[in-house]
């Protein structure tokens, strides 16, 4: 059977937030900051107020000035006294139509007194840099330290710096380089949208392009002084997430506006607003030092990351930001030190993107691994083989994992490898990179099973289907556990007041979490005394941590005259256990890899002086069907998965290693090393000339 949502999506019947209308609904639009860092001297709303169709114009003084956020609470609903990035919400218009609201918002006059601004993490932590948040230490959820730069949201480290330095000094071979993984956007195709209907403090309904409804409920409640239980997030179809739709977006604003005007308020962003005021991935500068002994065994690694968090730090699950940026997860490293500097700048606030931080960190580390292999004079593949973790090894966090199947995956990738010829006159190159992603089996969700006619059941879930096929997986797991045909099971998304919990999609653990709740539900269903609905819920971590290795091999051709390159074939070899839905699993592999390719070669949130210059999808290029290379997939079965469903994570596996894989292939072809993303023909051409 096909996906539960296939027909409604293919006919256009599925309702996304932008498709929903409520009776009596009005529309909001915002005036955004045109200054990267400034005091707001004056806001003149008089012209806007007189525009046709306008119901009201609101600034920070009209609504709650309590800040909001996921964990670090540092973000105002509307800028108050000061703006910190170009694109920040300063004032809002509510009008009878979207167009009237937008036209009026354009007439709001804001006077700024410019302040000195700072745009990169390295600059922002220098002595004397402009201070972006004078109150950093007092924010709720803050883990900043008074001894650090006032722009430092978090400075954390792991391992022993001295030991790592010492080991590097005595290593037979070392490399030391700086790499840069640029800012890119999640690139979901559905712009952010919200409808809020504030009836009373006891009755608020929200439709939001968000994947974690219970979290939104709490955050909106906290900043507006409403009991979270009185806020009900409605079920929606989500048009892509990739980490970009975990924040409350414009829900606090729309709810506050709805309370002001006493009507449901809808706000749909234009994609340019998503690009300039969303929560794209952190740009990360990395300083890497690696050492090896004469036999090619890694001796030490130092990974120092400078994470540009943009103007607000509230869009990640913790103030620490994306952990993957400074992780080294696949190899045995006797002396390891890492440092993460997460820093405020006057740029678009940053959030999580598919495998948070790992795409940036893995680009640097897997590039450096290649560079060290060449320095030793070893084949980069053999160098990796020699250093991959094996059963019993601890990783650089000191963790033991249930299994390490890096060698099996590497061997399977090489066995499946067949060279593809480059066009005549082009240079041929082959590159590899390795990534291992570990996932805990934390599960927090709930479902209700209700008997309906003819032996059919209806399954209700608050889990938002982000597109990955989670509702289909739920149906299939239940069908297997209950011994029932899928056709007799209907899966329905429900509002947050219908069921107790759901942690939201993320961390590549949706399938594992569903399997856990389905186990509980199946038992309750089998043991039920009467034909009445049962509710099953799980909340917690079963303590099982599993990992999955991925090896990518890219074959590229580079035109020596222009630096242009094409990917001749792109291989993903992956360690898997059971696969519940093979087609959905494959799409996660292909889609994740193509996203990685786009991010590494086409996409670039081109910020200059805090301004995103390519703020539309015509200039911010996403890969098309024509840009997608031929993919080859090698599944390496036999791994140990989580729970009775025996599944491994997949959604965040294929994106992170892509950048280094391509950079390594380009090096193989040209003998030139590109250390800053994106990999463009221009950079390759320059490098070949130089």
């Amino acid at each position: 059977m096909s996906r539960v949502d296939a027909e409604s999506k293919a006919t256009g019947r599925s309702r996304y937030v932008a498709d929903i209308s409520l009776p009596n609904m009005v529309y909001a639009a915002v005036a955004r900051s045109t200054s990267a860092h400034a005091k707001i001297k004056k806001i003149d709303t008089s012209v806007a107020e007189a525009c046709p169709g306008v119901i009201g114009v609101f600034t920070a003084k009209d609504i709650s000035q309590i800040l909001y956020g996921r964990n670090l609470i540092d973000t105002p609903i509307l800028a108050n006294e000061k703006v910190r990035f170009i694109g920040e919400r300063v004032a809002a218009v509510v009008a009878n139509s979207r167009k009237e609201a937008e036209d009026a918002a354009a007439m709001i006059e804001i006077d700024y007194e410019p302040l000195e601004a700072v745009y990169t993490a390295r600059e922002a932590i220098k002595e004397g840099a402009p201070v972006i948040h004078p109150d950093t230490l007092s924010y709720k959820g803050s883990i900043a330290k008074p001894e650090n730069s006032p722009n430092m949201i978090w400075l954390g480290h792991k391992g022993d710096k001295l030991a790592a330095e010492l080991a590097l000094e005595t290593s037979a071979f070392t490399v030391e380089h700086s790499y840069r993984a640029h800012g890119v956007h999640q690139g979901y195709l559905e712009p952010q949208a919200c409808i809020a209907d504030f009836q009373s403090p006891e009755n608020v309904r929200i439709w939001l392009t968000n994947k974690a409804p219970y979290r939104v409920r709490n955050m909106v409640g906290d900043c507006l002084g409403i009991e979270p239980e009185n806020i009900v997030l409605q079920p929606i179809t989500l048009g892509g997430d990739f980490g970009g739709k975990g924040s409350p977006q414009d829900a606090p604003l729309c709810t506050a506006l709805s309370q002001k005007v006493g009507r449901p308020v809808k706000m749909v962003l234009h994609y340019s607003e998503d690009l300039t005021a969303g929560n794209p991935r952190h740009a990360v500068d990395l300083d890497i030092r690696l050492g090896a002994d004469a036999e090619g065994n890694l001796t030490a690694a130092m990974v120092i990351g400078y994470l540009n968090a943009g103007a607000y730090g509230s869009f990640t699950p913790s103030a620490k930001g994306p952990a993957g940026a400074t992780q080294l997860s696949s190899y045995r490293v006797p002396a390891f030190y890492s440092e993460s500097n997460r820093v405020y700048t006057n740029t678009v606030p940053r959030g999580n993107m598919r495998a948070p931080g790992a795409s940036q960190g893995t680009f640097a580390i897997e590039s450096a691994m290649d560079e060290l292999a060449h320095k030793i004079g070893m084949d980069p593949i053999e160098f990796r083989r020699k250093n991959l973790l094996v059963e019993g090894d601890k990783d650089t966090d000191g963790e033991h994992w249930i299994e390490h199947r890096g060698h099996e995956v590497l061997d399977a990738a090489l066995a499946a490898f067949t060279p593809v010829e480059a066009p005549p006159g082009w240079l041929y190159g082959r590159g590899m990179s390795v990534y291992s992603r570990h996932t805990t089996s934390a599960a927090s969700t709930s479902i209700r099973i209700t008997p309906v006619d003819d032996g059919c059941i209806r399954v209700e879930t608050p889990l938002i289907e982000t597109g990955t096929g989670s509702h289909t997986v739920l149906r299939q797991l239940l069908a297997d556990q209950l011994g029932m045909p899928s056709a007799k099971i209907e899966v329905v998304g429900v509002a947050t007041d219908e069921l107790p919990r759901d942690a939201g999609a993320g961390g590549s653990r949706v399938t594992a979490g569903l399997a856990t709740v389905v186990d509980v539900a199946a038992k309750a269903w089998m043991n039920r005394l009467r034909d009445e609905p049962i509710v099953a819920e799980v909340d917690g971590d079963s303590g099982v941590h599993i990992g999955s290795y991925i090896v990518q091999i890219a074959q590229v051709a580079v035109d020596p005259d222009t630096g242009q390159f094409k990917i001749l074939e792109f291989m993903n070899a992956i360690d898997v256990a059971a696969i519940i839905n093979p087609l959905a699993h494959q799409m996660q592999i292909d889609g994740g890899a193509l996203m990685g390719i786009g991010c590494a070669t086409l996409e670039n949130l081109d910020e200059q002086q805090g301004q995103v210059w390519n703020a539309n999808l015509g200039e911010y290029k996403l890969s098309s069907a024509r840009d997608a290379p031929p993919f080859k997939t090698v599944l390496v079965p036999g791994g140990i998965g989580i729970g009775t469903a025996n599944v491994k994570n997949i959604g965040e596996s294929t994106t992170p290693p892509v950048g280094a894989c391509l950079a390594n292939a380009i090096f193989d072809a040209t003998k030139r090393r590109i250390r800053d993303l994106p990999l463009t023909a221009e950079k390759i051409y320059e490098a070949m000339r130089g």
Binding site: D5, G12, L189, Y271, G467, N616, S623
Partner: protein
């Protein structure tokens, strides 16, 4: 001003602004199957058929559709079951926001070049972006539809 056209085979009339885009007219009149993504004519989420050719309705002035025959995803999938079946069977979607546009473009390719090979399919469909799937299942859906013709 007034717009009259044939929409999904039926007469359709609406009062519109002279600068209204076709996507807005459709969506305001409950035809929300047509999506708006980029809003600047590059992602293809808003693709509809005007006189048998695919257009990006987000940059297509509604007045230009005066007297035209317009088809949206709703109309095409209800009149051509092979079109719907191809995408359902091959699961040519994940989040689905790009899907209506993919479906309309697929139908348009069926008119223009029903014997398109893989490369021609990818070339024709290059104006319909998809962030989720990596395009393999979409291309297979299109192949399946063309084969059914």
């Amino acid at each position: 001003m007034k717009l009259s056209m044939t929409l999904n085979g039926e007469p359709f009339a609406a009062e519109i602004g002279s600068d209204a885009m076709l996507v807005d007219v459709l969506r305001l009149n409950q035809f929300t199957g047509t999506k708006e993504g980029c809003g600047v004519g590059v992602c293809g989420a808003c693709t509809v058929l005007v006189n048998n050719g695919p257009v990006s309705s987000c940059i297509y002035l509604a007045v230009m559709a005066e007297g035209a025959e317009v088809w949206t995803v709703e109309g095409l999938t209800s009149k051509d079951s092979d079109l719907l079946n191809a995408f359902v069977e091959k699961e040519g979607m994940q989040c689905g926001i790009c899907t209506p546009g993919q479906v309309v473009s697929c139908y348009a390719l069926g008119i223009e070049n029903p014997s398109a090979n893989e490369e021609e399919i990818r070339e024709f469909m290059a104006g319909n972006l998809c962030r989720c799937t990596g395009y393999v299942t979409i291309t297979e859906s299109v192949r399946t539809y063309l084969d059914s013709k």
